[in-house]
């Protein structure tokens, strides 16, 4: 590997940003899409890790050996212009490619005028423009005159779904929804802005996306127009833009906008070809890294895994669980080396100071010049010395630097400190650093408090030095008042039971079980049916033509042959209790009840096929569901394969008032069946009546293929759905489908031999019970609710429980496998440890003060509190293993019987009182 020079010594830079301030060179800010300027030395963006600077190649010193001011002002001597590209060699057992995608560059096609017309921006530009840390500090402005736009157009599918030079034939899969997000954000801040979205199909196939689309669509002043468009010209005076489009009602029209946003798609990662060559892996037809649909992170070369959008367009949740899945797949081959490279830190024994008077050390940080330039640090040091219980007070250039934290540790030992106050920055950044210094000094880590005199004083009051210093004194006094009352809190360790329970033996459950078991953990796999396989038992091929049944047989064989996997079929969960690391679940199978002890639980209860009541289903045997059609195709039922005409109706049981979600897979399922039928009988007339075709990603290729093979796609309006009726004609009972063709504006009558309904995926009836038993939250549609829809897509809010597969939301086999591996990866983060460490910041109950009202029990989202009977009536008890330290119970308790440790009433009130004491 070649590591580019940063010209900053990473170990020395503290991220104080002094060099940035003095740097005289301004460059187009690469993070803000070059819309605004930044300094040649800067921090890439405000959440960058590590949060330190780098020097851009436009630096004067790098270019002409002039300037060098930064070297002079850096207090840590962290600037090093002698750095050069470094060759780094590492020996690894596996490689994960997560190189992401490259945004489509609309300059390659000039029909949109990007780069030519100032007020045409890409969605990436717009993303930065709307961001609070963006070029206009969150104000939406157009480039030409920096005025807020009044009318914005979004153009969808720029660079996607286009089989033309420079375009991509696939669907980028994320643009419909990110555009809706941008519209909502825009309307949130500027309700009067008019927003028009020119789109093709709306592909709201993700979890919650359908409702999100409705939210955007129902906003006042928002129009969704289905039309291809071109940006015709720029109005010279106003720099406004004229867009030409057409609608079935009004024909070709032109409309003027003051800003145009191009919803650009996702290209393969930059230099994918070069990297693929160097690593010896293959690319797919679209230039992304090629993977195996049944092993979604596996590249064409063993040991090399691919995750995220570098293997194809995908949204955040898919990328997140795929990343975790790739880690789990690596773990399977590298398990024998787990923890071989980790070094465990050893701390001295903790001193008991509970009987001592407080002895506080105060450390005031200059943060380079960040604090010291505004706040009078020496006077603060002096001021602290006069405050109660302070026995040591000193200033430090950077309290967070290694030498300063060492100093803190030494002072604790030498002066016998039992409390430490660091007046520096936000505890968000360095509290863990100082807690560690306390541990090294032999103190309980909760004996430190931080006074944030940087963000709250020097930064916000940079022009009012005296007031900033006075405020710093107030904050310091408050911090000390709290410090005096701090208590030693134990961080208790709970042993972890190394086994996992997987609920549901479908494709997701089995893959998850295998990946966990392959990393050396026992897995109990329970399935309510008498056979493993779930929904996949009814699926014969994938869209790509892979044999699902053969795959399933092999998977089931692997499960049964695995020595660490224990399968129970026909199983019911009777009881479930415990907490992360220590669950106890009672399972009934074969008439026997068994108690399973396990550290982690995976919910993979799958989905079911909606059984329709519409369109004569059940009343005429010629009407069937997509899965039933697939079964008959697989059996080569000639009645079907040799018929003359077949109509498929999409969105049956989905995207309606009862099930307000898109079932994600039915469009593909219909196209798969249609292609298969066309292969067997090219003359068959196949009609697909749809609302939006949602063949996202590379599935788009098959949609195009179907259209080319003359499968007829007819769009219908949900307000005017197709009719299916039996008609007697010529002594025969015909199945007649009537639909309004929106393009032609006519009623079409199709006499079909068969009708196949693209029925949605519904959550299994049993989810409710599973939800109650495992305290796993369910959302309104009956699927399970992940902890965070984007960032924690396989976790539950409750620790130690994970989910995957259709239990989460309808999804394709490849996605279910990917999510199953993702859940396995998350399970391993828990099971690979011998113990789980619990924060000391938990609630405690003073039983005497508890009146047993139960208000706290209701407030606790984690079921950490429960009422029990005592001789003195009902009392509350707490399970600290479940407590997350939010303190709601504390605030709602009428008697003060519950206290959140580290943030007790006394500590917080004392802090308030100290704020008004005379300085």
């Amino acid at each position: 590997m070649v590591k580019k020079p940063r010209y900053i010594i990473e170990s020395k830079c503290t991220g104080c940003a002094t060099c940035m301030e003095y740097c005289p060179v301004k460059i187009p800010d690469p993070f803000n899409q070059a819309i605004s300027k930044n300094k040649a030395t800067h921090i890439y963006f405000s959440q960058a890790i590590p949060l330190i600077t780098y020097i851009d190649e436009n630096c004067l010193y790098l270019k002409e050996k002039k300037c060098g001011i930064c070297m002079g002002v850096c207090g840590k001597k962290a600037i090093d212009f002698n750095q050069t590209s470094e060759k780094v060699e590492v020996n690894v057992g596996a490689i994960i490619l997560a190189t992401g995608f490259e945004p489509f560059d609309p300059r390659v096609r000039d029909e949109y005028g990007y780069g030519k017309f100032e007020n045409v921006v890409t969605s990436m530009d717009y993303e930065r423009i709307t961001c609070a840390t963006g070029p206009y500090e969150g104000e939406i402005r157009r480039t030409s005159d920096l005025k807020p736009p009044k009318k914005i157009a979004w153009i969808q599918c720029v660079g996607s779904r286009q089989v033309i030079p420079g375009g991509n034939s696939y669907c980028s899969g994320v643009c419909c929804t990110y555009t809706q997000k941008q519209v909502i954000v825009t309307k949130d801040y500027y309700p009067e802005v008019e927003c028009v979205i020119f789109h093709n199909d709306i592909r709201s196939y993700g979890k919650g996306f359908e409702r999100f689309y409705q939210r955007a669509e129902n906003l006042p002043g928002v129009r969704f127009i289905r039309s291809y468009v071109s940006v015709v010209k720029e109005v010279p005076e106003s720099k406004n833009l004229i867009i030409r489009f057409s609608t079935p009602e009004e024909g070709v029209k032109e409309e003027e906008f003051d800003m145009v946003v191009l919803s650009i798609g996702l290209n393969p990662p930059r230099d994918a070809k070069g990297l693929a060559n160097r690593l010896g892996i293959e690319l797919n037809a679209h230039g992304f890294y090629k993977v195996n649909p049944f092993d979604p992170t596996k590249s064409s070369r063993p040991g090399i895994f691919v995750s995220g959008a570098s293997q194809g367009p995908m949204d955040i949740p898919e990328s997140v669980y795929m990343g975790s899945g790739a880690a789990s797949r690596c773990g399977e081959s590298l398990e024998y080396r787990r923890d071989k490279l980790t070094i465990k830190k050893v701390y001295p024994k903790e001193k008991d100071v509970s009987q001592e008077e407080p002895k506080i050390g105060v450390f005031v940080c200059h943060c380079g010049t960040n604090i010291g330039k505004v706040v009078d640090v020496p006077s603060l040091v002096e001021y602290a010395m006069d405050l109660p219980y302070v026995v040591h007070s000193e200033e430090q250039l950077f309290s967070c630097s290694a030498e300063s934290t060492n100093k803190i540790m030494n002072v604790i030992r030498e002066k016998g400190l039992n409390r430490v106050v660091v007046a520096a920055c936000t505890p968000k950044t360095h509290e863990p650093t100082f807690r560690d210094s306390l541990r090294e000094g032999g103190l309980n880590q909760y004996f430190v408090d931080m006074a944030n005199i940087r963000e709250h004083c020097s930064w916000v009051h940079s022009q009012e030095k005296e007031e900033a210093t006075e405020k710093a004194k107030d904050l310091l006094r408050m911090s000390l008042a709290r410090a005096i009352r701090l208590e030693a809190l134990p961080e208790f360790e709970l042993p972890v039971n190394k086994a996992a329970l997987v609920v549901g033996g479908g494709i997701a459950g089995m893959n998850c079980a295998l990946s966990i078991a392959n990393q050396g953990h026992e897995v109990y796999l329970i399935e309510k049916e008498n056979e493993l396989g779930g929904m996949a038992r009814r699926i014969h091929t994938t869209l790509e033509g892979l044999d699902v049944q053969a795959y399933l047989r092999e998977l089931i064989r692997e499960i049964y042959e695995h020595p660490l996997i224990h399968v129970s079929t026909g199983a019911t969960v009777m009881e479930a209790g415990g907490y992360a690391g220590n669950f106890i679940t009672k399972v009934k199978s074969d008439g026997k009840v068994r108690e399973i002890r396990h550290g982690a639980t995976v919910i993979a209860t799958g989905g079911e096929e909606y059984k329709p009541t519409e369109y004569l289903y059940g009343k005429d045997e010629r009407v069937m569901t997509n899965l039933e059609l697939e079964e008959r195709i697989a059996q080569k039922d000639e009645k079907v394969t040799k018929c003359q005409s077949l109509v498929m109706i999409q969105c049956v049981g989905s995207r309606n008032e009862i099930r307000n979600y898109c079932s994600r897979i039915c469009c593909t399922e219909s196209i798969k069946n249609a292609l298969r039928l066309k292969e067997l009988n090219p003359k068959m007339d196949i009609y697909i009546l749809f609302r939006d075709i949602r063949t996202y990603g590379f599935n788009e290729d098959y949609y195009r293929d179907a259209a080319e093979k003359e499968v007829k796609f007819i769009r219908y309006d949900p307000q005017d759905p197709p009719q299916v009726e039996k008609v007697e004609e010529g002594g025969q009972t015909l199945l007649r489908v009537t639909v309004t063709d929106q393009l032609l504006g006519q009623r079409l009558e199709i006499d079909a031999d068969f009708v196949s309904l693209a029925t949605g995926v519904i959550p299994p009836e049993g989810n409710k019970e599973v939800s109650q038993l495992f305290k796993a939250l369910m959302e309104e549609d009956g699927f399970f609710k992940e902890a965070h829809v984007k960032l924690r897509p396989v976790d539950f809010g409750e620790e130690g429980i994970y989910l995957c597969g259709m239990a989460h939301y309808p999804k394709h086999i490849t996605e279910a496998i990917s999510q199953a591996h993702g859940a396995a990866g998350r399970v391993l983060t828990l099971l690979s440890h011998d113990t789980v460490v619990r924060s000391g910041v938990v609630c405690v109950v003073d039983e005497k003060r508890c009146m047993g009202c139960g208000a706290c029990v209701e407030a606790c989202a984690y079921s950490a509190l429960s009422l029990y009977e005592t001789r003195q009536g009902k009392k509350v008890s707490i399970n600290p293993a479940l407590c997350k330290g939010d303190g709601l119970c504390n605030a709602i308790c009428p008697t003060g019987a519950i206290q959140l440790k580290h943030y007790t009433d006394k500590q917080l009130i004392a802090q308030m009182d100290a704020s008004v004491e005379e300085a």
């Binding site: 969150g138 208000a855 407030a859 997350k884 939010d886 504390n890 709602i892 308030m912 008004v916």
Partner: protein
């Protein structure tokens, strides 16, 4: 610690030590990173707090809650500046409202004493999640607050009925009951938080505790008269 940790008592305490305004910042509603959604509790506490301020004659604009993510520095700056402006306009607490400092101190401390009672009485409403900001103002109405204060109870132990069984004293969560073996129990009204536990637990055969609404409980009987002589013991 979540914004839902903000106790009604903290808000009142801040005003009582002379703060002219209280601003609470919480995460955006419905965007809880956990499953707690404690910001709704914080919102409800603020909605209640505003009504309470009004009840004691203070301007409810002195209390504010705003919701934002950690990435929205500008929103924070904007709202805090606006709040400062609001408070500057109103000046020191009580001044524009025409409540004298001494009177203010008394009202706030009386109110603070009632926090446990208020928490018990408003418990159901404190846990609701009002998604529509239009609904917020209606969560607590001034009439409701009037009623809340009109119905502040006092608990009183009837000395003629008390059998000095110590049950109430043992169960009182705040040790507000003066008791002793064979001594008639007395409720220390200063310490009492009006939770009603004593009423609930007093054995029905004695029924010595009464709930008084709108009445001041009679003064405690003198200490020398508190000794109970029991029939059984005399024999």
């Amino acid at each position: 610690m979540c914004s839902g940790r903000v106790d009604l008592a903290f808000i009142l305490h801040a005003f009582s030590i002379g703060m002219d305004g209280v601003y609470i910042a919480g995460c955006r509603l419905d965007e809880c990173k956990y499953i707690t959604h404690g910001n709704y509790y914080a919102l409800n506490i603020v909605l209640l707090g505003k009504r309470l301020l009004e009840y004691i004659g203070l301007d409810s604009n002195r209390l504010r809650i705003e919701f934002m993510s950690s990435a929205e520095a500008f929103r924070f700056v904007e709202t805090i500046n606006d709040f400062i402006h609001t408070i500057r306009e109103r000046g020191p607490i009580g001044e524009k409202e025409g409540v004298k400092q001494e009177e203010l101190r008394i009202r706030l401390s009386e109110l603070a004493k009632l926090v446990p009672y208020i928490k018990i009485a408003t418990r159901k409403k404190l846990s609701v999640r009002l998604k529509d900001p239009q609904e917020w103002e209606k969560l607590f109405t001034p009439e409701e607050i009037e009623t809340l204060f009109r119905e502040v109870p006092s608990y009183y132990i009837d000395p003629t009925k008390c059998q000095a069984c110590m049950t109430c004293a043992r169960r009182c969560p705040v040790d507000a009951i003066l008791s002793g073996k064979n001594l008639i129990h007395i409720i220390d009204q200063e310490k009492c938080i009006k939770c009603g536990t004593c009423l609930e637990v007093c054995p029905p055969r004695f029924s010595a505790v009464t709930k008084l609404i709108g009445e001041t409980p009679p003064p405690p009987i003198p200490e020398e008269k508190r000794v109970i002589t029991r029939k059984g013991k005399e024999d």
